[in-house]
Symmetry: C2
Subunit: 331 residues, 2 copies
C-alpha cells in the first residue's frame, strides 16, 4: 500500500488540504509548515498518485500518439520529435501503432477518447471525415500530422509534398536532364499525388514534355521500384533520370540499374523522397528529399498544447517545407 496524502497529513499533523498546497506549491502555507511537510514527504517517500490527480484535476498530463509503425525510420523520427517536445511541457507519451489497419485506427482512437489522455496526435490513413467530426464532438483536442482529409476546420501539420516533388524534379532539370521518369507510390496516397503534381508542374515550368511511358507505379515498395525500373530500362528511349516517390523505391531502382550493368549517376541519375537511414548507406549514397520529421512532431505537440490550454490557435494548418539532401546519385 503506497503512502497517500492522508498519511502525510496525519504524520505532519495538518489537513490534507495543506499538504495538497505544498505538493502543488501554492501560496498560503507558512514556511515552517511547508518545510515540515516537505521533509515528511521525503522521509516517507511519498509521491502523489497520478491517476487520482488526473481524476480530480481533469487532466492526465499524457498525450496519445497514433502512428502506423515504430520500426519505420520516418515515423520513429516523428515520434522522437513528439516525445521531446511533450517532455518540455512535462507531458508523457501514450503510444499506439496501427500498422495502417482501418479497424485498428478506429479502435485506438476510441481508446484515447476515454479520458486517458489530454489530447491526441494522429497519423492515420483511413479515418474518414464523418468519423473525424464524430471525434470533435467527443471534446478531446486532436491534431493530425499529414491529414489525408482536406477540411479547413481540422488542425494539422502538413508537409509540402508538392513543393518537394517540384524541388526534386527541378534539381534534375537543372542538372541537364530532359528525360525524367517518375515512379508512383500507392495510388490512393495523398503524399504520392502531391509529389507527382510537383513533378508535373516542374516539367511544365521548364517546358519539358510529359511522357506517359516514363510514369510507373511501384507501390512505395523496394521491389516495386526494382521491377518498374527494369521496364524503364527496356524502353528504346531510356530516361536519363528517375524520380521515385520514396526512397524504398529509389533503392529498388538503384539495384535494377546496377544489375543492368549501368552506372549511377553516370548513366542514370536517381532521386528519392523521405531520406530514410539506408539512403545514406548505399553506394552511391542516394540524393533525396528529406521531410522535416522532428519538426513535424514538435509542431504537432505545440499546436496540441495550445488546444489543451483551451486556446483556438490560427491558422489551423501548419505547412512545413522539405529539404533537398544532395548526395551522390545525381549528375
Amino acid at each position: 500500500m503506497p503512502v497517500t496524502i492522508n498519511d502525510i497529513a496525519k504524520a505532519a499533523n495538518v489537513s490534507k488540504a495543506t499538504v495538497s498546497y505544498v505538493i502543488n506549491n501554492k501560496p498560503g502555507v507558512s514556511e515552517v509548515t511547508r518545510q515540515k511537510i516537505l521533509q515528511i514527504m521525503k522521509e516517507m517517500n511519498y509521491r502523489p498518485n497520478a491517476v487520482a490527480r488526473g481524476l480530480a484535476g481533469q487532466k492526465t498530463e499524457m498525450l496519445g500518439l497514433v502512428i502506423p509503425d515504430i520500426t519505420d525510420m520516418f515515423y520513429a523520427d516523428i515520434i522522437r520529435g513528439v516525445e521531446n517536445t511533450a517532455n518540455r511541457f512535462n507531458y508523457t507519451l501514450n503510444l499506439c501503432t496501427t500498422h495502417a489497419e482501418p479497424q485498428k485506427e478506429k479502435d485506438v482512437v476510441d481508446s484515447f477518447t476515454s479520458g486517458r489522455v489530454d489530447g491526441v496526435i494522429l497519423m492515420t490513413y483511413h479515418l474518414n471525415i464523418d468519423y473525424i467530426y464524430e471525434l470533435k464532438k467527443r471534446g478531446i483536442p486532436f491534431v493530425f500530422i499529414d491529414c489525408p482529409i482536406d477540411d479547413e476546420s481540422i488542425y494539422s501539420i502538413i508537409v509540402d509534398n508538392e513543393e518537394g516533388g517540384y524541388k526534386a524534379t527541378e534539381y534534375l532539370i537543372k542538372l541537364g536532364h530532359k528525360e525524367i521518369a517518375f515512379i508512383h507510390g500507392s495510388r490512393d496516397s495523398w503524399d504520392n499525388e502531391s509529389r507527382f503534381k510537383g513533378y508535373c508542374r516542374a516539367l511544365k515550368d521548364y517546358g519539358l514534355k510529359f511522357q506517359e511511358e516514363f510514369i510507373k507505379h511501384g507501390e512505395f515498395q523496394k521491389i516495386g521500384g526494382y521491377q518498374v525500373t527494369k521496364e524503364l530500362l527496356k524502353l528504346e528511349k531510356k530516361p536519363t533520370a528517375i524520380f521515385a516517390a520514396n526512397d524504398q523505391m529509389a533503392l529498388g531502382a538503384l539495384s535494377a540499374i546496377l544489375e543492368a550493368g549501368l552506372k549511377v549517376p553516370d548513366d542514370i541519375s536517381i532521386i528519392g523522397f523521405d531520406d530514410i537511414e539506408a539512403a545514406a548507406l548505399v553506394d552511391p549514397p542516394l540524393t533525396t528529399i528529406s521531410q522535416p520529421t522532428a519538426k513535424m512532431g514538435q509542431k504537432a505537440v505545440e499546436l496540441l498544447m495550445d488546444l489543451i490550454r483551451g486556446e483556438e490557435p490560427e491558422p489551423r494548418k501548419i505547412l512545413l517545407k522539405t529539404v533537398l539532401v544532395e548526395r551522390g546519385s545525381c549528375a
Copy 2:
C-alpha cells in the same frame, strides 16, 4: 462535458451500480434492463472514463516502457514486440526515452511509480542496485530487459551475448580464419563484455592465440569502427577477419576496408552484431548476429503480466539465444 455513468443511470432510470454491472458485463442484471442500458449507452455515445476506473479499480491497464532511443532500430524492434504483446492483454503503452542519460533514467522511472502504470519494463544502463532495491519497495512490478545488474531477485530478460560472440567467432574460425580482430563497443557495456568473452572463449576452444594488437575500441559508433579498422589495416600482419561488437562499427569497418582498395569478403571478412536494418542493405550485405528483439519484448510483457496478476513466476531470468544471419561479408 462528456457523458458519465450518472447520466446513463438517470436516462435508464436505474442506479449507477446497475449500469456499472452491465459495463463490466457482470451477472445479476435482468436481460431487459441490460439491453435497455446497452441501448442508451450507445445512443448517448457513452464511454467509461479510464482514469476514474483506474482510481476505483486500482489498475490502469497501461504499462510503462523505459528505453534509450526509439530511432535505433534495435530498440524499435523491441518496442514493437512489447506493444504487440501488451495489446494482446488489452494493455496500452506509455513510452519514455532516456537517451541513456543517468538522470533521465531515474526521473522517468520515478514518474512511473506514481500509479500511472500497472507495471514497467526497463531498459536502462545506469540504474544501480540500490536504486533498484528502492524501486522494489515502491511496490510496482517491473521487468528488466538486458539488466546490467547481476542480482538473482530481479526479473529480467537476458540475451545470451556471450554465446552470440562465441557463435560469431566460431563461424569465422570454421571458415578458416586464424587472424581475427575484435572491435569493442563501449568499455563499460555489459553486452560488449559478454560478446568479447564469447570471442575469447572461441579462440581458446579452437586453439587460436589471442593477439593484443587485434583488439580495438570503437565505442559502438560507425566512425569508431572506421577509425580502428584503418589502424588494423596498417598492421604489418593484417587480420583476415574482423568481428565488430555491433553492426554500426562493422559498417564503419566495411567503409574503411573498401576505401583501402580491399575487397570484402575476398580480402577480409567482417561480421557484426545486432542485425540492424542497414546490415542487409550495404554491399556486400553484412553477416551478423541477430538478437531476438521481438521475442525480448514479448517475453518481458508476459513476465510482467504475471507479476501484475500477483503471481511470482520462476525462474526470474529468461535467457534468449541469438541467431547467426549469414549474408555476404564472410568467406
